[in-house]
Symmetry: C2
Subunit: 531 residues, 2 copies
């Protein structure tokens, strides 16, 4: 009955013709959840259809400020980036979310190739004994390993681990492939799925299975290996800042936060919309340790046999979550144009077939002129313009083009920015030239906005107490002098819930006494509560 | 000591200057395994280095005619397409093989998108109960399932299957996503790894883990679903014939060869270089059966709830093996230009730095002019030209460009086709224009050659006896009238080892009495021994 009443109301309001395209009434629509019912009616639906569709679309998302975590989950689910699967801790990456990931993957893959790396594919399984060859490594991962113990109807003699990461497989093969200095460096990357048995999972940010890229390299000298580790960290920084418009802090991890088995781990740390930190990518130096464990030696120029120096580096699908959390607002996703599945959506507005024809002419012509330079989606679905406005706002399309009969008559199109909601009438003839520029402008301002936000949430402190006081007000990054002692690091975590995110590569010149023990010999560390 | 003697000989023969670039002496070189030693010497190696490198490169591959299967394995391993891994039945796809797969994947992905499909990613795991919902399906796959029974240190309450295929996951989600006719069709594809617990494995053709693409679609009507099944079969045919230059026979599978749970299975069947058949891709119609099992209903235009009609279709990394087996020759791989990682390799020939400079000028200029239109690799490694000729022949690069000081002087380059070994001198100025044409020509002749081979190995027969006699002489495709009875099909297999590959969509008009029971009502079936 409730549905039916909504229904009639919707129709009445729907009769308000063009009125329904004003933002105010749109929001009113969304608040009251009418637009779906209205479109359902237009589409000549029975009540059943309206109910079923309403159940999918007539929904509010939580306010960011009230409950950031619920807001995030609402947006991921309702923008159809991902959905829960029948498997605990595993999600389905839906077409819209996967297209976003594919754009990220392709942009990063270009950079990985440009720095001389090649792709390959290594097995999903790792025999238990092989995984256990490196004690520290297995200690770090075995609590997270999914074990295959049966194949068909037979139990296996040796359990197979599903790769949590593939160091041991790559290095086992490298020991077979590398013979002389002329085989070096070996620079191989793989795009693959990995599994880590997480107890508390979170869409994109922490899932049992996730997609990632893992590079594994072997070098002749320590210097070359160290250059590689920092080269790939810089590739990640450039990729995340340029393509995802998310500013990051490149730095080293503390002993306590290092990758299992690594000599040194470097990271890029990003700030999410709630002031929490997110580790966006890591690059590891293994020295000759793994080479010794897996006996990877080469005959050097001077005829001496030496062990290689190895590295590994990776980023994962959690970056999709980072994009949502770094740019999203109360209306949903705000996607950076460079990776957005649709960079612009054209919403046709018409009251009859004759108007539809004229509008279609303009849209088809635009598509021709753009000729693939802009990923344009024309939404001809039989929903109301109002519903489409909400839908594509929720899904974060950078630019919405509203094209109605009056616009056609005036030879212009109304372009609406998703990030600022700024509207501008653009002459049809200039659209194909101005749209790309507008998208670049949006990309730039998303980065600038995220950077300004991070700076506003970054504080230099000299004591734990300052963090304690400040972090209760709002989360953020806390720059503090640290003596390098793990106990001091642990005390900060115990008292503030903030972990040591990184020791920034670009020091800020500041110094002082350790925020915990007061010892004068310190480096600057960034502390924050993190995902 | 043996190595050292070879060494000196190599140097002496090496002194034969340009002589060593003639094919005859090259083959002599390869037979005697000198060229590596020679290059090792040039590179100023100690004996150790020579031994280590020799062990990798100074190798013969088996003769196709003697032992096709060993020839295949030799080529896959020595061309570095793949290597055995520490995990039984799993291989490592090496960079050269993976680049080949990436080119195939991208070409097919374009076609899959062009027909309106989108990509997504579904979980690796399938809960045992979910997999068991469809009896026939699970019966077909459970003997091949790898089971996860422990996560971290805990045993699981319910076993998780590693996907052998993802019907049950896609359809479970579809039952949640599909509400009305307006949600249809749902056209989703995924590129992923799957696992089937194979006992007898074979590089690329049959591995426990393999990479593939699996499309899963849901439709409003039976007609639309049937159109989809045949549309994707045609996409596969066009892809395999156009990109891989392998002719295929599209047809339906018999009851006995159908996919577990399918109402009808369609296939494209290719002939390998030994006359055996290889199933290169399949497309399945499920009717409403899976929709009933997974309760996928939609509200139709008329307000009625109906079950959807589903399909699925896939091709796998076995296509890499198909390319090797369909085109390879006694010198190794012969790659179709459209998917070859390198379409042309430039081999510089010089005796001193001054000559090297002049040759480099020509190659760099060519690369500039080609501007990415041709995947050109300039091999400046410090091996001898002779070694490089062998290496890139073994690895199947379609065109080799030999560029020496005399060529530079004459303003020309010697282009050598990998498929026909035909040589032609091409003026440097015309190279960037003629190379693409030459590659298209090679692509066409590879297809024509494979087609002619298939026809020469295809026979129309009227009785099992004819197959028995013929198949002992040489393997091939046997077209025969078949009554449709599974017992007759089984008898052919029992007596000839040949299975029913398909019932060709394009009938050849011929008819006759069943090759087994003699019943007059028949359709034409293709029988062959298969991989």
């Amino acid at each position: 009955m409730g549905v039916r009443r909504r229904f009639h109301l919707a129709v009445i309001i729907g009769r308000g013709s063009d009125l329904i395209f004003s933002r105010a009434s749109l929001l009113a629509f969304r608040r009251r959840g009418y637009n779906r019912a209205f479109s359902g009616f237009l589409a000549g639906f029975g009540e059943g259809a309206d109910v079923s569709e309403a159940s999918r679309f007539v929904q509010e998302i939580a306010e960011q400020s009230d409950d950031f975590s619920r807001w995030y989950t609402d947006v991921v689910l309702k923008a159809e980036l991902a959905d829960y699967s029948p498997v605990r801790g595993c999600m389905v990456i839906r077409p819209y979310g996967y297209a976003l990931w594919e754009n990220m993957r392709d942009a990063l893959d270009k950079r990985i190739r440009a720095t001389g790396h090649v792709n390959a594919y290594f097995p999903l399984f790792i025999p238990e004994n092989l995984l256990k060859q490196e004690a520290e490594h297995v200690a770090g991962f075995s609590p997270e390993v999914a074990w295959v113990t049966a194949g068909g109807d037979d139990d296996l003699e040796e359990r197979l681990a599903i790769r949590p990461t593939s160091e041991v497989l790559f290095l086992t093969m490298y020991s077979k492939w590398i013979q002389s200095w002329r085989d070096l460096p070996v620079l191989i990357n793989q795009w693959a799925n990995v599994v880590r048995w997480e107890m508390r999972t979170y869409l994109f940010l922490r899932t049992m299975e996730f997609l990632w890229q893992e590079g594994h390299t072997a070098h002749r000298t320590e210097v070359e290996a160290q250059e590689e580790v920092l080269r790939m960290l810089e590739v990640y920084r450039d990729f995340v800042e340029t393509e995802l418009a998310i500013p990051v802090i490149p730095g080293g991890k503390s002993e306590g936060e290092k990758f299992a088995g690594a000599q040194a781990t470097y990271t890029i740390e990003a700030m999410m919309g709630d002031g929490r930190a997110l580790q966006a990518g890591t690059s590891h130096a293994f020295g000759q340790h793994f080479a010794q464990v897996f006996n990877i030696t080469f005959l050097d120029r001077d005829g001496e046999r030496r062990h290689v120096w190895t590295t590994s580096w990776g980023v994962t699908t959690r970056l999709v979550g980072a994009v949502v959390m770094a740019h999203g607002d109360s209306s949903g996703l705000v996607l950076p144009p460079r990776v957005a599945p649709y960079q612009a959506v054209a919403v046709p507005i018409f009251r009859n077939e004759e108007e539809a024809q004229r509008v279609r002419g303009v849209i088809d012509d635009l598509a021709r002129r753009l000729d693939g330079r802009v990923r344009l989606h024309a939404d001809w679905s039989d929903h109301t313009p109002g519903w489409k406005f909400n839908e594509w706002e929720l899904r974060g399309v950078p630019v919405r083009l509203e094209i109605g009969p009056r616009d056609v008559a005036n030879g212009q199109v109304l372009a609406v920015r998703r990030d600022t909601r700024e509207k501008q009438a653009i002459p049809v003839g200039e659209l194909s030239a101005r749209l790309p520029t507008l998208l670049e402008d949006i990309q730039r301002s998303l980065f600038a906005k995220a950077l300004a936000f991070r700076e506003s949430r970054s504080h230099r402190v000299g004591s734990i107490q300052e963090i304690v006081q400040q972090i209760e007000v709002e989360r953020g990054f806390f720059y503090a002098p640290w003596c390098g002692n793990g106990e001091c690091e642990a005390e900060v975590k115990a008292k503030t819930g903030a972990t040591l995110r990184c020791l920034p590569l670009r020091g800020d010149g500041e110094s002082g006494a350790c925020l915990v023990c007061g010892q004068p010999e310190t480096t600057t560390a960034v502390f924050a509560r993190a995902y």
